[in-house]
């Protein structure tokens, strides 16, 4: 038998903690991508600047 939640779910400490942890991981992942994409942009831009016609 499936147990279902009715109405608006309430927040327990455990759920809040899980949400906080998910948000923190997501934040770190996004920050990592920001740094990575910045570095890729610098690398690609850098090589183009070196190779531009003078």
């Amino acid at each position: 038998m499936k147990e279902e939640f009715e109405g608006t779910p309430e927040w327990s400490d455990e759920l809040l903690a899980r949400r906080r942890k998910r948000a923190a991981v997501m934040g770190w992942v996004l920050a990592g991508f920001v740094v990575l994409f910045f570095l890729v942009t610098v690398v690609k831009l850098g090589s183009n600047i070196v190779q531009r016609a003078l």
Binding site: K2, E4, E6, G7, P9, L15, R18, K21, F37, V40
Partner: protein, 324 residues
Amino acid sequence: MANNSTDLPVFDTSVPRADDVSDATKEMVSEMASAADYFELLKPRVMSLVVFTTLIGMIMAPTGADGGVHPVVAFTALLLIALGAGASGALNMWYDADIDANMERTRTRPIPSGRVSKDSALGFGLTLSAGSVMCLGVFVNWLSAGLLAFTIFFYAVVYTVWLKRHTAQNIVIGGAAGAFPPVVGWAAATGTVDVLPVLMFAIIFFWTPPHFWALALLKNKDYTENNIPMMPVVAGSKNTRFQILAYSLVMAGFAALPALLGHAGLFYALFSTALSAVFVAMSFWLFIAPDARQAAASKALFAYSILYLFLLFAGFPADKLIGI
């Protein structure tokens, strides 16, 4: 349910199932998920093989006059290809949640165990798919992005939706999805596709049936009960074991081709021959094994098949390094 210090109800995270439940339940299920649950949706073990074969494709790609792809770009490509492959795994888990729930091997996955809702898994898979393909196109090149998109489509739609539940050739045709990563890696490094990555594709393509059918023989009861037409369910054990042997021979032939066509040297030729000989011998043993030994032979072949692919692909850069 026990109350905590704030007098709010504590939900039993193991109870609700993620399928066919109310919106409130779905919301609760998605709030119960941890970051590790979402990571599990990416099928990390499959992803490790994808990362490895992609890396080999990139390493073996010619560097050209400009010194080849920059390490930062190469790392980004590898990460995005891994995420794309993981996204297709999440979409597979979303679609297959019903059968996963009934199979011993898969019932602890995040969706059937109620840790992640189906909607969340779908959103996660689609977002990662689109994001990985777009970013690969923008930051690396559009050929590799196109190939990655096709790989995701092939696994999530062609294999999961069309083939898996409808034909015993599901693994044979669907194996193409797992064979693409070295081609995508090569394309990411060079912007082109050449003979060697196509041979790598062929090796993985013909490796997949013996690898997966060895597992399917062991899990035949689960597949039969869930009406999944895996080869052992449809054709029986003996026929499947014969096909495993046949595909192993074809795979061994393709594993030898890089050396025969001059894309690898003597080290790879000897190394791949030895590895393939063991693979074929184990397939032959499985084919002739008496009933009492078949489970052990299947298990051994399945385990060796994973080791085989890792070692064979490691043989490419090792051969390049040794240079004989």
